[in-house]
C-alpha cells in the first residue's frame, strides 16, 4: 500500500478532529415538533484527512478560513489530541502518545506560527528564546556552547549578534518571524510545520522570509508542512499540495499537476478567484457563489455541492471517494 516507509516523514490516515461548542445546557436546547430536545453541538473541523509527507519535501495544505487546515496542523503534532484516525511520524504510531511520550519527539518536530510577535515571549531576550530549547532538549549541555550555537542560528536567519540581547518588541515583524524560525531550527528538527508564516507580513518582507525558509530547507534537508490560504505563496514554496474544503482534502497532488491541470471544481474556482498582476482576470471568470457552509451542520453528500456549478443528484447524497486522476494526483469528485 505504501512505498518505503523510511522515506515518509509523516503519514496521516483518516484524521478526525471536532470540538464541543456552547458553554451551558441552554445553548444546546432546541424545540423540535413541540418538544424540547437537547442536542450536542460539535464543530467538525477535520473530517477524515489523509496525506503523506516525503522526506525533504514541502507539503502545503491550502484552503479558505474555516476549512480546518490549522486544526489539522495542530493535531498532527499533537498539540490537540486526535478524535480519530492515525498519525505515523517516521514510521512510529504517535496517535495515542501521551505528553510525556511526545517529549523526546518534540525536538524532531517544530512549528513556526502565523503571528510572529504573539509567538515570542515578550519578557525574554532573543538569545534566551533561541537558546532555551537547545539546553532543554540537550542539544548542547554547556551554556556557553549553547549560546554560540544560538548566535550562529540567529546569524543564519539574518539577525546580527549585537541584536541578540534585545527583546522581541524591538524588532520588526519580519525580523520577529526570523527569530521564530531560528527558534524552530535550534533543536535540529526533521519536520517543521509552518502555519501561515508570511501572511502577517508586508509583501516585500514576505518574499525575504519565503526565500529564507527555502534556503534553510535546502541546507538542512528537513520537511515542511506548510499551511496557507494564498495559492500564489504556496506555488513558490511547495512540492506537493492538498486543497482543503470544510475539513476534507478535496484534491491532492504534485504542485505542477494541480496548477497546470486542476481537477476539482473547488480548486479551479480557487485558482480563478486570485487577482493577477496581468489584470482583467476577474473580468472573464464568474466567481463561485455563496460561502463556506457551517462546520456545525455538515452538508449531506459532497461538502462543496451547494456552491458547485457541476453538482448532480449523486453529489447531494454521497460523499465522493478519493480517486486517482494521474501520477500521485487524487481528487474527491463524482465528475471523475
Amino acid at each position: 500500500m505504501k512505498g518505503a516507509p523510511e522515506n515518509i516523514v509523516l503519514e496521516v490516515t483518516d484524521l478526525q478532529q471536532y470540538f464541543r461548542v456552547g458553554k451551558g445546557i441552554l445553548d444546546e436546547l432546541t424545540w423540535k415538533k413541540g418538544r424540547l430536545y437537547r442536542e450536542k453541538l460539535w464543530v467538525h473541523a477535520v473530517n477524515g484527512v489523509s496525506f503523506k509527507i516525503k522526506k525533504g519535501t514541502v507539503y502545503s495544505l491550502v484552503g479558505e478560513s474555516g476549512c480546518g487546515k490549522s486544526t489539522t496542523a495542530r493535531t498532527v503534532i499533537k498539540l490537540l489530541d486526535p478524535k480519530g484516525g492515525r498519525i505515523l511520524f517516521q514510521g512510529v504510531d504517535i496517535t495515542h502518545y501521551t505528553k510525556k511520550q511526545m517529549l523526546p519527539l518534540r525536538k524532531q518536530m517544530q512549528m513556526i506560527f502565523q503571528d510572529p510577535y504573539a509567538s515570542l515571549n515578550p519578557r525574554s531576550q532573543v538569545i534566551e528564546i533561541v537558546r532555551n530549547p537547545i539546553l532543554f532538549h540537550g542539544i548542547e549541555t554547556n551554556k556557553q556552547q549553547a549560546t554560540e550555537l544560538a548566535i550562529e542560528l540567529l546569524r543564519k536567519v539574518g539577525i546580527r549578534p549585537e541584536q541578540a540581547s534585545r527583546y522581541p518588541h524591538q524588532f520588526s515583524g519580519g525580523q520577529q518571524q526570523r527569530i521564530g524560525i531560528a527558534r524552530a531550527l535550534s533543536v535540529h528538527p526533521q519536520f517543521i510545520i509552518a502555519d501561515e508564516p508570511v501572511s502577517a507580513l508586508d509583501v516585500s518582507i514576505q518574499a525575504q522570509i519565503l526565500n529564507l525558509m527555502m534556503d534553510l530547507q535546502r541546507e538542512f534537508g528537513f520537511s515542511y508542512l506548510f499551511i496557507a490560504h494564498n495559492l500564489a505563496v504556496v506555488k513558490h514554496a511547495s512540492d506537493y499540495l492538498g486543497i482543503m474544503y470544510l475539513g476534507k482534502i478535496v484534491e491532492n497532488g504534485k504542485k505542477e499537476h494541480i496548477f497546470s491541470d486542476p481537477k476539482h471544481p473547488y480548486t479551479i474556482a480557487l485558482l480563478n478567484s486570485i487577482p493577477r498582476l496581468s489584470g482583467k482576470n476577474l473580468d472573464h471568470v464568474q466567481p463561485i457563489q455563496g460561502e463556506i457552509p457551517s462546520p456545525l451542520h455538515l452538508p449531506k453528500g459532497c461538502h462543496f455541492h451547494e456552491r458547485c456549478p457541476f453538482a448532480r443528484e449523486v453529489c447531494r447524497e454521497v460523499y465522493p471517494e478519493e480517486r486517482s486522476v494521474g501520477t500521485e494526483h487524487t481528487v474527491c469528485c463524482h465528475l471523475y
Binding site: 509583501v203 516585500s204 518574499a207 495559492l231 506555488k235 486570485i274 487577482p275
Partner: protein, 326 residues
C-alpha cells in the same frame, strides 16, 4: 476649469505630532481624480496610503493634523471648510468603505436601521420610500431576501455579506466618490473575487469615482485605471495602471512587483526588496528609499529627488527613473 475633474489634491501634508517626534505620514502628495475613474493607492504598511484616504475626508484625529495643501473637491477646497460642512458631505458626496467588516457596523442596531440612517441624514424621503430604497440597495449588492435581512443584526451576516452591507450603505446617497480602504483584505479569496467584481460593476453602473487603497498590486491591476504608489509618506510613482505594472519607473515599484508571488509566474525564487521599511522617526536623508534601492547613487543619499514627468500622466519621484517615454 476642467468639468470632468472631481478631485484635485495638491501638496497634501498630514503630520502626526507624537511625543517621540513628528511623523510625516503624508508628505506633499498631489494627485487628481476624474469623474467615474477608479484610482488605486498601493504601498506597504506605513506608506501613508490610509492616512491619505482619511485626510481627504478630514478624519484625522489628534495627534495628527493636516498641516498644508489643498483638497479641491468639485471646485471647493475642503480644508478651508467648516466641520459642519464636512459632516454634510461625508456619506453623501464622499463615502467610505473600511477594511474590517466585523467592526464597521454597529452590533446593536439592525442592518436596516444603519442603512436607513444614511438616508435620513442626507435625503428627504418618506418612511415608505426609505424602506423601498433600502431593499433596492441590498438587492443591488447581491444580498438574497433583502426584505427579511433588513431586520437582521450584523452578527447574523457572514464577513462577505457584511462587506456587501457596508458597500450598500456607502452607495445609499449616490456619492460622487467612494474611498475604499483595503475593502477585501479581511476576506477569503473566493469572497474577495465576488466583492471586487461587485465593486467594479457598481462603480460602472452608478458612475461614482472610486479610490481603492490596498497593499495588493494584483488587486490594483484587476480593478483600477490609474495607480499611485506610496512609500514612507511620499507619492513615488503615479500613472496608468497598465503602464506602471508593465514598465515600472520607480525602483520601489519594480521591487514590489518582483517580490510578489504571482500565480501566473513560474520563477522558482522571489526577488525581495532588501532591508525593511525605515522607522518613520529616523528617515534616511535624501530619497527615503535610498537604503533599500539597488540603483542608489551618492546624490540619492544627499538630496531629495525631484518629481519627474516621464510620460503622459506619468510621474516619478526619482533621480534616475527606470523608464521614460521615448
Amino acid at each position: 476649469m476642467n468639468e470632468d475633474l472631481l478631485l484635485d489634491v495638491r501638496n497634501l501634508q498630514t503630520y502626526f505630532y507624537t511625543p517621540k517626534g513628528v511623523v510625516k505620514a503624508v508628505d506633499r502628495v498631489s494627485f487628481n481624480l476624474h469623474r467615474g475613474e477608479v484610482l488605486g493607492i498601493v504601498g506597504e504598511s506605513g506608506g501613508g496610503k490610509s492616512v491619505t484616504g482619511f485626510s481627504l475626508l478630514r478624519l484625522i484625529e489628534y495627534p495628527g493634523r493636516i498641516v498644508g495643501g489643498e483638497v479641491i473637491f468639485k471646485g471647493v477646497d475642503l480644508l478651508k471648510k467648516s466641520e459642519q460642512y464636512m459632516r454634510s458631505l461625508r456619506g453623501k458626496e464622499i463615502s467610505m468603505v473600511f477594511q474590517d467588516p466585523m467592526t464597521s457596523l454597529n452590533p446593536v442596531y439592525t442592518v436596516g436601521n444603519q442603512l436607513e440612517e444614511s438616508l435620513i441624514l442626507h435625503q428627504d424621503l418618506t418612511k415608505e420610500q426609505r424602506k423601498r430604497r433600502c431593499i433596492e440597495l441590498l438587492t443591488m449588492v447581491g444580498i438574497p431576501n433583502p426584505e427579511k435581512r433588513l431586520k437582521d443584526y450584523p452578527h447574523q451576516f457572514s464577513g462577505g455579506m457584511r462587506q456587501r452591507v457596508i458597500i450598500a450603505i456607502a452607495l445609499a446617497s449616490k456619492p460622487d466618490l467612494i474611498i475604499a480602504d483595503e475593502p477585501t483584505t479581511a476576506l477569503d479569496v473566493t469572497i474577495q473575487a465576488q466583492i471586487l467584481k461587485l465593486m467594479k460593476k457598481l462603480s460602472e453602473e452608478t458612475g461614482s469615482a472610486l479610490i481603492l487603497i490596498t497593499h495588493d498590486l494584483a488587486v490594483i491591476s484587476e480593478l483600477t485605471d490609474r495607480v499611485n504608489v506610496m512609500y514612507c509618506g511620499n507619492l513615488v510613482e503615479t500613472g496608468h495602471t497598465k503602464a506602471v505594472i508593465q514598465n515600472p519607473a520607480h525602483p520601489y515599484t519594480e521591487g514590489l512587483l518582483r517580490s510578489i508571488p504571482d500565480i501566473a509566474d513560474t520563477k522558482p525564487r522571489l526577488e525581495p526588496i532588501p532591508g525593511i521599511v525605515p522607522n518613520m522617526y529616523e528617515l534616511p536623508q535624501g530619497c527615503k528609499f535610498s537604503d533599500r534601492c539597488k540603483y542608489c547613487q551618492s546624490v540619492c543619499r544627499e538630496q531629495e529627488p525631484p518629481l519627474l514627468e516621464v510620460g503622459r500622466g506619468r510621474k516619478v519621484l526619482c533621480f534616475f527613473p527606470l523608464w521614460k517615454e521615448e
